[in-house]
């Protein structure tokens, strides 16, 4: 019989403690991010799809050596270059210039081999994560065009 009343007493007490906790939580500020209106900053090591890095003039740093293409285990990078004549110190020199840099993100496993193999720091992971689409073609990125769009 003593256990009966102590059960009721301690049971009610624990219920009141629980209600006290929710009462305190009620007045604390909310912690959720209102996603479409607010976004959180991606952490430094977040891996989105790769992106070309521009130099000071807004041109890609890439020298079209193709190391990234060769390093990619999934074969999702394809790049091309053209040689153009440029004038340096009064002499005409031939220089390889990147003409095409396509990423097939449908195959990419975000391993990061391309970024590690780049000797010029010309590619890096983007912080892009809003990539939902119903069409496969939307994940074939033309990185040169994206770079121009960022410059614009």
């Amino acid at each position: 019989m003593g256990g009966y009343f102590s059960d009721i007493f301690y049971g009610s007490k624990s219920l009141l403690i629980g209600m006290g906790i929710t009462f305190r939580e009620f007045f604390k500020p909310t912690v959720t991010v209102q996603y479409p209106y607010q976004t959180i900053k991606m952490s430094a090591r977040f891996r989105g799809h790769i992106e070309l890095i521009a130099d000071e003039e807004g041109k890609p740093k890439c020298v079209a050596c193709g190391m990234c293409q060769r390093a990619c285990p999934s074969g999702c990078i394809s790049l091309d270059s053209v040689s153009v004549d440029i004038e340096v110190d009064g002499k005409v020199k031939k220089k390889k210039v990147l003409s095409k840099y396509d990423l097939d993100f449908t195959k990419c496993s975000l391993c990061g081999q391309c970024v590690e193999n780049c000797n010029f720091g010309a590619i890096d992971f983007s912080k892009e994560y809003n990539l939902a689409s119903t069409r496969k073609e939307d994940f074939h990125f033309n990185l040169l065009k994206r770079l121009e769009e960022r410059n614009a």
Partner: protein
């Protein structure tokens, strides 16, 4: 004749409007309250503070098709949601909101409200049976056994209050408690020192009668999909939902009238209907607070609480009150 008919129609329209508005905005309050407790904002997109959410939810529910499952008992399936909502609205008729505001004051108001409240269990049983769905049947069996077992302590505590007042008239019960908060039934009086405990028992029972967490065994989502309204969509579901919230308002009103002095002001100032509304909304806020604090009980825990704790204590209080009334 025409005037009385008009009066009846106006009263019914007001009762339905009050029930529907409460149901809609209590859902909003519940969602906002739950969200605050869980430290998120809740519905906040539609309108200021998400206040347009309830009408939009209503439009969404009304534009959906009412599906009747193939094997279902059509008549019971259609009757059940109406039966959940109609008694709840009917109960509003007898509730006096203030000395002058009552659709129809009856001498047996307490009895009428309990009679209508017990029809809610039938609606749940019909819904579960008519759906021809195992989950629904199990849920409705649970809900009915719960409603039956919690009606007993609820009625016993109500009888205790009725004995002290000597009337079943809700208005008379409220009037008997007027004149400051120390006259309220919740405070230990000469009639019975156990009245605060009776109040808690009544409050727990009204939680259980409305099938709300932590006593929502009838719609235990984790085990029984959605319980007795698994097969309901559209306004069928909407009516169950509105009925539940209307029942919450009635439970809070009844608790207020029986224990918290009805529309009586605690300090004898500004008498009026707002004290009644303030009290019922405070009680409803507690309902919501409790719902989002406690996890669901088991069916055994639920029945044990009623049969082993609430019923003996309320019976003891009944006998004590009867004895004290006889002595003094």
């Amino acid at each position: 004749m025409s005037l009385t008919l008009l009066n009846v129609i106006v009263a019914v329209v007001i009762a339905i409007a009050f029930a529907a508005a409460n149901a809609a905005y209590l859902v909003w309050a519940e969602r906002r309250g739950a969200a605050r407790i869980q430290r998120r904002p809740g519905p906040n997109i539609n309108g200021p503070f998400g206040l347009l959410q309830p009408p939009l939810d209503g439009i969404k529910l009304m534009t959906k098709q009412l599906m009747i499952p193939g094997g279902a008992d059509k008549i019971l399936f259609m009757v059940a949601p109406v039966l959940a909502m109609a008694p709840a609205i009917m109960s509003f008729v007898t509730i006096p909101f203030s000395e002058g505001i009552a659709a129809h004051n009856m001498e047996l108001g307490v009895l009428v409200i309990f009679a209508f409240a017990s029809m809610g269990a039938m609606a749940i049983l019909f819904a579960g049976w008519g759906s021809r769905n195992k989950y629904s049947v199990m849920a409705s069996v649970r809900a009915v056994s719960q409603n039956v077992s919690y009606e007993i302590p609820m009625l016993i505590t109500a009888i205790t209050v009725v004995m002290t007042t000597g009337s079943m008239d809700l208005k008379a019960i409220s009037m008997a408690q007027s004149g400051g908060f120390w006259h309220w039934n919740i405070f230990p009086s000469l009639h019975s020192p156990l009245m605060p405990i009776s109040f808690i028992i009544f409050f727990i029972c009204s939680l259980a009668e409305t099938n709300r967490a932590p006593f929502d065994l009838g719609e235990a989502e984790s085990e029984l999909v959605a319980g007795f309204h698994t097969e309901y969509g559209s306004m069928g579901f909407g009516l169950f939902f509105m009925g539940e919230y209307a029942n919450i308002v009635i439970g809070a009103s009844l608790t207020t009238i029986l224990f918290l002095g009805g529309w009586d002001c605690p300090f004898g100032m500004f008498p009026g209907v707002w004290w009644f509304l303030l009290k019922i909304y405070l009680l409803i806020a507690t309902f919501i607070w409790i719902r989002w604090t406690f996890p669901r009980t088991t069916i055994y825990g639920l029945l044990n609480l009623s049969w082993k704790i609430l019923i003996p204590i309320s019976l003891f209080n009944l006998l004590l009150t009867a004895g004290l009334l006889k002595v003094f």
